[in-house]
């Protein structure tokens, strides 16, 4: 039977954690953190801030994968730190490299500024607009939406997005074109395009049809690959492209 080292059997005793410090300009600092048998990356960051360096800035809230605020770049890949076990990513040598989410400005250390991300949701008309009721009144046209209808199923496919920004940080097109609306905003737009109760379809389709809209997507599908909720923004973007193609070809767009 081959001999295995203690590290291979039990994992490392300490983790070597390189953490981004600073804003856009900055550098990595290395911290030694005691390894535990059961430990998430967020546990590691919290330990560093409480035990070693209280000036470390990072963001979290729920710690159980519901809020989406603790996303960071862990060993080169955007992940929810609260749902990422160290043992899955640190390797036998126990190495971690933590950076803020890519494609976003840095507030400080591991906290990325989500403003451009949510501004693009607004630009893509990601807000539900009831038909006939712009002032918030009850719409006259009351829709019964069967849950099994095709459009409702299309809308349901992407509705669980919690806006964590993992897809946005993983998207090559955003890094090539900073104006690109990004997978999350376009996924939201596709959800609303399929909502039969919504009254802003023409404006929404116009908003996502520009140079920085759905047609910029190269279908590399990193968003779908990395989405922690297993949503498929790439399919949503393809849906928008398809809808715009036929609407334009058949003269359905005003």
């Amino acid at each position: 039977m081959p001999q295995t080292s203690r590290e291979e059997r039990e994992g490392p005793r300490t983790l070597a954690v390189r953490v981004w410090r600073g804003r856009e300009e900055g550098g990595f600092r290395e911290y030694r953190v005691p390894a535990q048998a059961n430990q998430t990356v967020l546990d590691v960051v919290t330990w560093i801030q409480r035990e070693l360096d209280p000036t470390l800035a990072y963001r979290f809230a729920c710690r159980v994968g519901m809020c989406g605020s603790c996303a960071m770049t862990v060993n080169g890949r955007a992940r929810w730190t609260c749902r990422t076990h160290v043992s899955r990513v640190a390797g036998p040598e126990g190495r971690l490299e933590l950076r803020p989410l890519a494609n976003l400005p840095v507030i400080r250390d591991l906290a990325a500024d989500m403003t451009p991300f949510f501004d693009k949701w607004a630009k893509a008309r990601g807000r539900f607009q009831p038909k006939d009721a712009p002032d918030g009144a009850v719409p006259e046209e009351f829709h019964v939406v069967p849950p099994a209808s095709r459009q409702r199923r299309e809308a349901d496919a992407g509705i669980e997005c919690i806006g964590c920004g993992v897809c946005y940080a993983s998207c090559d097109v955003v890094s090539w074109n900073p104006d690109y609306l990004g997978p999350a905003a376009l996924n939201r737009a596709w959800t609303l395009v399929n909502d039969v109760r919504d009254g802003a379809q023409a404006e929404r389709l116009a908003a996502v049809a520009g140079d920085a809209g759905c047609h910029s997507c190269h279908s590399t599908q990193s968003c779908t690959e990395h989405c922690p909720k297993q949503l498929d923004p790439s399919a949503a973007i393809a849906g928008l492209k398809r809808r715009l193609f036929w609407d334009t070809l058949l003269g359905r767009r005003a």
């Binding site: 911290y31 030694r32 035990e51 080169g76 950076r99 940080a169 993983s170 890094s175 690959e225 399919a235």
Partner: protein, 130 residues
């Protein structure tokens, strides 16, 4: 346990989505193959037209070119060209299917099919040579 005071190590790293290690998944590789094969084919096209132009300059010029094209190195280049064409064609059909048919599932299987098609075309070409 209290560790040593942290020391700065390493310069600023580019804040891109993390290099190839962040995206070694099949659909990204399919995108790369499609893009690179397209660029190489675009670069080849002027050469193709130049080769055709030999015919205008007379039979001897064309004959000389065709004899040169029979050398093993050029044949190997032709094989690469066939694979690039097949990969680009299959990759393009895959993207059209993805965008027009709205297939959500089995994207990775589609990538595998396109790769298989390109390799099969390459093999057929090699078998014809032997």
């Amino acid at each position: 346990m209290r560790a040593q005071a942290p020391s700065p190590v390493g310069p600023a790293a580019p804040r891109r989505p993390g290099g190839l290690r962040a995206r070694p998944h099949p659909t990204y590789l399919a995108f790369l193959v499609h893009r690179v094969s397209g660029l190489l084919l675009a670069l080849f096209l002027p050469l193709h037209f130049w080769a055709l132009s030999r015919a205008i300059e007379g039979e001897a010029a064309l004959e000389g070119f065709l004899r040169w094209a029979d050398t093993p190195l050029v044949k190997a280049g032709e094989w690469l060209l066939v694979v690039l064409l097949a990969a680009h064609l299959a990759g393009g059909l895959r993207v059209l299917a993805l965008e027009f048919l709205g297939w959500r599932r089995r994207q990775k299987d589609m990538v595998a099919v396109t790769a298989g098609f390109a390799l099969a075309c390459g093999l057929l070409f090699l078998l014809n040579l032997l």
